[in-house]
């Protein structure tokens, strides 16, 4: 089977700033790929290119076999995207907002209603159905963002820091949700939390200053730490990799 996300030689310059410097990202069906890296490494920029928001300075992107640059409308159909910070219209109610997204995605009224009902159940939005988004807590806002991304039941999910800024309970719930989704979907998610990678991801890619510096399973990431490191082994590896310039080949891919 072809990879669901296939990006090669991705590069993005913002004026003189080189944000992404030749990243290859191949995500196979069924994989949950954790995308890691220090602040400003280029994770969000890469995801914005994969989802078709930004055009890369160079490189190619295919999503479910469709070229994002040549055929963006078609490629975007197979992606559900949660941008960093889960932006939404503050003065719309949850249901209005989801209905809007459903309509833009081409659902008719009845199909949209069914789908939103199903989602509200799944993402636990029942209590705030008719509340405006500006009055929601961060946790609920994030769920609205997730619901919006899941709405059309896409094969590919791209989630930019889905658990960022949530309390431990919410983090746990969102993680469970992602693990649940991961059973049927291909997911690319960025995070700063290394336990999250162990908890939900089948593979991890670490980027630093716009370049991929690790690609392997969470177990392979763990092996990078010497035996004498007993606590926070992943943190140790992460720091070790992203504060030096050496490229570590994790798994052979």
């Amino acid at each position: 089977m072809d990879p669901y996300i296939e990006a090669h030689g991705l590069r993005k310059e913002f004026g003189s700033i080189l944000a992404v410097d030749g990243v290859d990202l191949v995500v196979q069906p069924g994989e949950v790929l954790g995308f890691l890296g220090p602040n400003g490494a280029g994770k969000s920029t890469t995801m914005k290119m994969v989802t078709g928001f930004l055009e890369p300075t160079a490189g190619s992107i295919r999503v479910c076999g469709v070229d994002m640059l040549a055929n963006p409308r078609e490629a975007k159909r197979s992606i559900g995207y949660l941008p960093e910070g889960a932006p939404a219209y503050p003065d719309m109610t949850v249901v209005e907002f989801l209905r809007f997204i459903a309509e833009v995605r081409g659902f008719d009224r009845a199909a949209a209603r069914d789908q939103i009902e199903r989602l509200v159940e799944q993402v636990h939005l029942g209590g705030v159905y008719h509340q405006t988004i500006e009055t929601l807590s961060k946790g609920f806002k994030r769920r609205v963002g997730l619901a919006q991304a899941f709405l059309h039941d896409p094969p590919v999910l791209v989630l930019d820091e889905p658990t960022d800024g949530l309390d431990p309970n919410q983090k746990h719930e969102v993680r469970d949700l992602i693990r649940e989704m991961g059973k049927q979907k291909t997911i690319l998610l960025s995070t700063h939390i290394l336990e999250e990678v162990e908890a939900v991801c089948t593979r991890a890619v670490i980027i630093n200053r716009g370049r991929a510096v690790f690609d392997g399973t969470p177990a392979e990431l763990d092996e990078q730490a010497p035996a004498e490191v007993t606590a926070n082994r992943l943190d140790w590896v992460f720091r070790n990799i992203t504060t030096s310039d050496t490229v570590v080949a994790g798994g052979a891919r």
Binding site: K48, G52, F53, R73, E74, P83, E84, G85, A88
Partner: protein, 244 residues
């Protein structure tokens, strides 16, 4: 439903989601009232026509259209929802068109609410209804052209206040070059063709013909081409600025 229509619907409903729309419409109506009856001297003129109202409309638009236009893209960029919109299976053209049409529809609602003025003058006397009709038509076209330019400017920034000021400056320039005194203002070394071209580009020049009851296809085409060109540029500006 086509994406453009969905965008239009959300956007148009968005104008009424806050009390701001009501406040805006009240201010618009109050100002048209003041302009028409007090400053325009509707009663004193002894003539039953809406000339005073339509005469002041460009100046009214100068301040009130920026208030509609400023939020079109600036707010979307500030909230980050532009990223959401542009990763949906929708083209930039559809987004730009849907949003513009919603703003234009809102402006037309404001304009439509002045119809009681029409009824008033009809009651007081015997106005030329044809002239009033073409004046409304011209006013709507001018509002559309202003809004298309304003939407473009609004895409340049994340700050609505800056967008408002940019609109104000641009609209002022677009009106100024059409005033009769403009030709005396320009420095003498400017070739006459340039001065004429500037005067031709003014919204005022084209609006005034319509306001006299003359529907010249060229004036209509002028406004429609301004709208088309501005929407095209809007898409480019959006693509250029979206990442910031």
């Amino acid at each position: 439903m086509s994406p453009t229509r969905t965008i239009f619907k959300r956007e148009f409903a968005g104008y009424f989601a806050t009390p701001l729309a009501a406040v805006y419409l009240v201010i618009f109506l109050a100002l048209t009232g003041i302009f028409t009856f007090n400053m325009g001297g509707l009663y004193e003129s002894g003539q039953a026509s809406l000339r005073p109202f339509f005469g002041f409309l460009p100046q009214l638009f100068l301040f009130l259209v920026p208030a509609i236009a400023m939020r079109i893209w600036a707010e979307e960029r500030r909230l980050g929802t532009v990223e959401l919109l542009m990763t949906l299976p929708v083209s930039v053209g559809e987004l730009v068109t849907g949003k513009f049409l919603a703003a234009w529809a809102f402006a037309c609602v404001a304009l439509g609410l002045t119809v009681p003025l029409w009824l008033t003058v009809s009651y007081l006397g015997d106005p030329d209804h044809g002239v009033i009709l073409t004046s409304y038509f011209g006013g709507a076209l001018m509002a559309g052209a202003f809004l298309a330019v304003g939407a473009c400017l609004s895409a340049l920034t994340k700050n609505q206040v800056i967008a408002f000021v940019l609109c104000l400056i641009a609209f002022f320039a677009l009106l100024l070059s059409g005033y009769p005194g403009f030709t005396e203002l320009v420095p003498g070394w400017m070739p006459e063709v340039v001065v004429d071209a500037l005067a031709y580009m003014s919204f005022l020049t084209h609006y005034e013909a319509l306001q006299k009851g003359v529907v010249d296809l060229r004036d209509v085409l002028f406004f429609l081409s301004v709208i088309g060109a501005a929407l095209f540029v809007n898409a480019l500006v959006l693509d250029w600025k979206k990442a910031d």
